[in-house]
Symmetry: C2
Subunit: 198 residues, 2 copies
């Protein structure tokens, strides 16, 4: 609602929501550093100072925009239910079902991109993805070496997300869901429940 004039606008303007939406998009596309407050403000058709008024410093806007829609405790029962030799496939389908949905994808993309450059966000990905989400899920399976398994799993999960959803590398990006599940399920199966050693 940029009328060029100062002062409050009549009625409900929805600026706050537009800011969050624009921030999610920018963070997803350009990462933390690449997404400037001014660009987000322009997308939301709003003055940069308004963003600061609502959210304070940039870091706070980031955590407000990129809030994780997944709870690790949802995964644990899903993995434990059903035959153990299909654990990897269940995990693959669950993981992909989240990323196929465009809304969480923007948040997750933002996290992933930002984690690579920003040191604080790197700690965040460790904390959120590995400790809070994958950690409990693996722990609930009661297998040996849970910490190592979490990182193995994380390495494949992040690599897959990066190539298929963030960088959009073909032919992986356009491969059908069943193809992707078929390709990655055995890998997840090994990292989750099968013996690791050489």
């Amino acid at each position: 609602m940029r009328t060029g004039k100062t002062g409050r606008r009549p009625g409900r303007s929805g600026s706050r929501e537009r800011i969050l939406e624009a921030a999610r998009q920018r963070f997803a596309d350009h990462g933390y550093d690449g997404a400037s407050i001014r660009a987000i403000a322009a997308d939301a058709d709003v003055d940069p100072a308004l963003i600061h008024h609502y959210f304070g410093p940039k870091q706070r806007l980031f955590v407000a925009a990129v809030e994780l829609p997944i709870d690790g405790r949802d995964i644990a029962p899903l993995l434990s239910s059903g035959p153990r030799e299909e654990t990897g496939e269940r995990f693959a389908r669950f993981f992909l079902s989240i990323w196929e949905d465009p809304r969480p994808r923007a948040s997750l993309s933002g996290m992933l991109r930002s984690a690579i450059t920003d040191a604080g966000a790197a700690a965040m990905i460790r904390e959120l993805l590995l400790v809070r989400i994958l950690g409990p899920a693996v722990a609930a399976l009661g297998v040996g070496d849970p910490e190592l398994r979490v990182t193995l799993l994380g390495s494949q999960v992040i690599g897959l997300a990066l190539l298929r959803y963030v960088l959009v590398v073909e032919p992986l990006a356009s491969a059908s869901l069943d193809t992707v599940v078929g390709a990655f399920a055995p890998t997840f199966q090994r990292y989750l429940v099968e013996p690791l050693g050489p």
Copy 2:
């Protein structure tokens, strides 16, 4: 050699080499955007304008600093030699031997970090890592679905490198070489030579 005075220095100063070294380090630690010309110049104890004098715009400095020390044609014969059921392990050992060496690691880290944020570098990782390095290696094996296999392989390679070397996530980062080989070799084996489908 910052004497505070202008003009050429006597003797060989090695500025060019120091600039490249500093650039590699900065790009590795902070990615393309995060590594400023000025910071690189400070590390190399040199005026920022000298960097521009040698390498032109920043993009040219990046490709000069981050030059890949691997040739895809070196990998192909290595993968083909030896028993086929150990192909994945040979690949794992080769791949890890490169990253364990600190010099290429800096270059590769820089590429990886930059590829996530900078759009041009994303195309570069696709071109260099996937097309020029993993592509020929997989093609030489004469298996079906080579393009898909390259991206599967790439997803695990990048995820592993990211967690173990770039983000340094424990316990993967400190795990012994044999542990890592043991954990990932079967995955690589599947992506390289074994049937994929569900």
